[in-house]
């Protein structure tokens, strides 16, 4: 007679039976490449007919990246200049839209359908073509520009960089908004989960909508906002508006020694992305110990 297995053993066996394809894939296609990139970033990679020639070069790739290569550091700066304001705008705008959508009755589905549309059609080439056309349109209608607006000029008188940043955000508004598709749905989902009796209790205590928004809705929605921030940073990294990305792609096509550089750049870039997410986490994490006890 076959020996009976315990419940725990069966759970283990069956669970891993279903997990095994993913675990194999994870080990081969994600965990191993991730570790390999770190090692490759210290190497010079030459692709020859016989295969890859690896040579340990120590920190030389990093030195080249930061001090010798004229493209990399500006590209990183460009990336930060894009990702920080864009993420901020995406999170705020998608929350506002989700909040409004929660407070209307008619045409809710219609608006949601419009706001979700970009998720379906957005791809690198489409984005590139749109930005392309926008630039040539700007040249055509040279007279009108956001930098002429009074408020922007006021900002410019304090700090030119801030004005350029604000102008950029307005000029790219459609592009930025195209990243809000999924965040809006997630925010709506989060808002719907807030217990309505909390609102009722606040109203009985004569709180107005504005107070309810700041004292109840926002604190409860904070974890969702964290997820959405991380999600947006990931999404923004995958498109051509990210200059580091196109730089890495160029280096990957370069067969003589390019792969090692690509690995170094990709690795530095990943560290920065993870750091950004860490900062987002620090800002948006739940602060439990701040609750006052009376």
């Amino acid at each position: 007679m076959r020996k009976m297995k315990t419940w725990k053993q069966r759970q283990n066996r069956n669970g891993y039976m279903f997990m095994i394809p993913w675990i194999i894939g994870f080990a081969v296609f994600t965990a191993f490449p991730f570790a390999a990139t770190i090692i490759l970033s210290f190497m010079n990679v030459n692709s020859t007919i016989l295969g890859y020639e690896l040579k340990w070069t120590g920190l030389s790739n990093y030195i080249t990246a930061f001090f010798k290569n004229v493209e990399f550091v500006p590209a990183l700066g460009g990336y930060l200049k894009v990702v920080i304001p864009y993420t901020f705008v995406v999170v705020v705008v998608s929350f506002v839209i989700a909040y409004i959508l929660e407070h209307i009755v008619k045409l809710k589905g219609f608006f949601r359908t419009i706001y979700f549309l970009p998720v379906i059609i957005m791809s690198g080439p489409v984005m590139a073509k749109l930005l392309d056309t926008k630039v040539s349109d700007m040249e055509l209608f040279a007279g009108q520009s956001y930098s002429d607006i009074f408020i922007i000029q006021m900002i410019a008188s304090y700090s030119r960089n801030a004005a350029v940043l604000v102008t950029d955000v307005f000029e790219q508004l459609s592009t930025i908004l195209w990243f809000t598709g999924i965040p809006i749905v997630l925010f709506i989902n989060g808002l719907q989960k807030i217990n309505p009796s909390l609102y009722e209790a606040a109203r009985i205590d004569s709180a107005n909508e504005w107070q309810i928004l700041w004292k109840i809705t926002l604190p409860i929605i904070r974890p969702t906002a964290l997820i959405i921030t991380v999600f947006t940073i990931v999404q923004l990294g995958m498109f051509d508006i990210n200059p580091v990305y196109s730089l890495i792609v160029t280096y990957m096509g370069n067969t003589s020694g390019g792969l090692g550089f690509a690995a170094t750049y990709a690795w530095i870039y990943t560290v920065i992305v993870l750091m950004l997410m860490g900062i987002a986490f620090l800002i948006l994490r739940e602060r439990k110990n701040k609750v006052k006890h009376y």
Binding site: K8, Y16, M17, W22, I121, W178, K193, V234, Y245
Partner: protein
């Protein structure tokens, strides 16, 4: 008292009007690029460079569409793109279903660890993984003497083993749906002698046809729009619509000038090509938009 109430009603009405105005404005900003694509598509070359013509072309011209169709080689690329995306989507869906089922049904050792790993997979940028992946596939194809680069096989393998485009989200959709199926159904089946695979196919999958469809559609669309991994591993092994669009400017020169025409490339041609390449997705969205939105709602990553 009454005065106070009417005041409140009026302010609520005003608020509602402000909300709708805002929503319509935002909708316009969302759709502006698409309107621009459509309006440019039908412009004649003269209209494109005329600063007076902003939105509505003076004369409708179908010439742009015709030329773009030819340059994009639509008959071949459309078929290829659909086949390619569907193939990868099937792979991703199968793996996501298995993994989602494991996470929802079994309490195995190290489950928390794997769950965190699944989430981390989403966060790590694909760029950091591509160099070793490429080298791995090249080395592998040298050893077995069988061409892998330039075929969909590497990506199919990655999808089948759960490392395709946004596989994490697909797994979460499945996990959350399987969580909704009562466990007593599994137990009933197991008492009748069904093994875990039978439970998966006859209870898990049987009840989740619509989830399978949602996941498949997402995987399809994401694989369609993905160009980075495809550009690295498939390269020009298959003519795909988004890749063709990316190369449109250079292809335009060769196709049009070889046929003896003296068109110069302009925005209108580019926009016509863009319209053609997003049209299949727009049509798909028109039919199943509800499913897409529900799919994202069901990931449950906003915390249950």
């Amino acid at each position: 008292m009454k005065k106070h109430l009417t005041k409140k009603i009026i302010s609520e009405k005003a608020m509602r009007i402000i909300y709708y105005v805002l929503l319509v404005c935002v909708s316009f900003v969302f759709l502006e690029p698409i309107f621009r694509i459509i309006s440019k598509t039908f412009m004649t070359p003269e209209d494109v460079i005329d600063p007076v013509v902003d939105w509505v072309p003076r004369k409708l011209s179908l010439n742009n569409l015709k030329v773009a169709l030819k340059v994009l080689n639509l008959k071949v690329t459309l078929n290829n793109s659909i086949l390619f995306s569907a193939l990868l989507a099937v792979g991703e869906t199968v793996c996501a279903a298995f993994t989602g089922f494991a996470l929802s049904r079994y309490q195995f050792a190290g489950k928390k660890f794997w769950y965190v790993m699944i989430l981390l997979c989403f966060v790590v940028p694909t760029t950091v993984l591509m160099v070793p992946r490429l080298m791995m596939f090249v080395t592998f194809q040298e050893t077995i003497k069988f061409t892998l680069i330039g075929t969909p096989i590497p990506q199919l393998l990655m999808s089948l083993f759960g490392q395709g485009v946004n596989s994490t989200i697909l797994i979460l959709i499945f996990q959350n749906f399987f969580n909704l199926i009562p466990k007593s159904l599994d137990e009933a089946a197991m008492i009748d002698g069904a093994g875990p695979l039978r439970v998966f196919f006859h209870i898990g999958l049987r009840l989740s046809y619509s989830t399978v469809l949602v996941v498949f559609l997402f995987a399809f669309v994401w694989n369609w729009n993905e160009t980075y991994v495809t550009g690295t591993l498939l390269r020009s092994g298959m003519q795909l619509l988004p890749q063709k669009l990316a190369l449109f400017d250079s292809e335009f020169e060769s196709v049009v000038s070889s046929s003896g025409n003296a068109f110069k490339i302009n925005e209108a041609y580019k926009m016509a090509a863009t319209l053609i390449s997003i049209a299949p997705l727009l049509i798909l969205y028109a039919f199943v938009q509800k499913k897409f939105i529900e799919g994202i709602e069901n990931t449950g990553i906003t915390g249950e």
